[in-house]
Symmetry: C2
Subunit: 168 residues, 2 copies
DNA sequence: GAAAACGTGTTTACTTATAAACAGCCTAGT
DNA sequence: ACTAGGCTGTTTATAAGTAAACACGTTTTC
């Protein structure tokens, strides 16, 4: 082991601490697994959508929201997708410019958003790409396992409010 | 339903398309669940660590890597944590400035990184916060379920290379 | 009916992430 | 020895995300 110059250093933690912190970056630490999986999915989707359609993941998310909930407002999209208002605003701008969505004036200065026919076409082309991500990820799971995974993740989702509470 | 002004719009997709795209933002779509869970965890950890110690999640990640692998280089940390080189470089800078880590000169102009005693102390204070995130998330799972979750996520992890391959 | 409060969406300033270019150093080959 | 290439880690430029401030119009409230 190299000589330590310019200050004291610790080359070995106590066994207890090492055992604990070993977990953090191991394959057993769920938060790390979730982060790596999510990052890989987003990265893939971003690459494919940008490359083939010149749209970002946020644009795609908004487009997909309007496919399911035609006529909702930007604020609704923001809540529905758990997405920042500014991000939605920019995505709406992009989609408007490319004539993929239109809007009608709603109450209180709001605007109801709709897909245009080209928007529907674009949506139909993007959707399979997005769905394929899940297919690839789950391809080694049996149907029963896939179901169980969703059940377990659902239970985890229920704990999100407790994570947020802790910071207050 | 409001009148559509300034262009044609589509208020309703075909049943087939609607049924498909409905999945994307539903509780059954695994990529979305993973993203929401991961974001919530990172958000919580970021808030707590920044608030209590003035360090970001990247600083913490690097610190934890050095606790498990004392003496590794910045490049090693980058690979170990699947983290951008630039991010590691900045984190190392922060940690150096605060005397939480030291370095010794290694081969080829590399530097071996070590925790200092204050770094170990900081690590011991931060670790429980990080571990608590997982505890909260898994708190409604039985031990058997928790194990199964890790197994399933492990199978998903094995598919990450296939996600990356698709973009080439 | 004027003033305050609210809800809409946009803009701004700031932070963070990403990838490519870069400079320095060592090694290897000729 | 001297050049070419391959490492290290840093810097830079660009893109993306975040939160607060903002402007505008519409309700309320007195």
């Amino acid at each position: 082991m190299a000589h330590v110059s310019g200050g004291s250093a610790v080359e070995q933690l106590s066994p207890v601490h090492e055992a604990l912190s070993d977990v953090i970056d191991s394959e057993a630490f769920v938060p790390r697994l979730l982060a790596l999986l999510s990052n890989a999915l987003v990265w893939r989707e971003s690459m494919l959508l940008r490359g083939e359609f010149g749209l970002g993941t946020n644009d795609w998310r908004v487009l997909s929201a309007l496919a399911v909930r035609p006529g909702i407002t930007a604020t609704d999209v923001s809540e529905f997708l758990v997405m920042n208002k500014a991000v939605v605003s920019k995505a709406v701008n992009v989609l408007m410019t490319r004539n993929l969505i239109t809007s009608t004036d709603g109450p209180r200065g709001s605007r109801n958003l709709f897909l245009t026919p080209p928007g529907v076409e674009m949506h139909d082309q993007m959707l399979p790409i997005s769905l394929a991500g899940e297919d690839i990820l789950l391809s080694q799971l049996s149907p029963a396992e896939a179901t169980q995974l969703r059940v377990l993740l659902g239970k985890l989702m229920a704990q999100i409010p407790r994570l947020a509470d802790e910071t207050t």
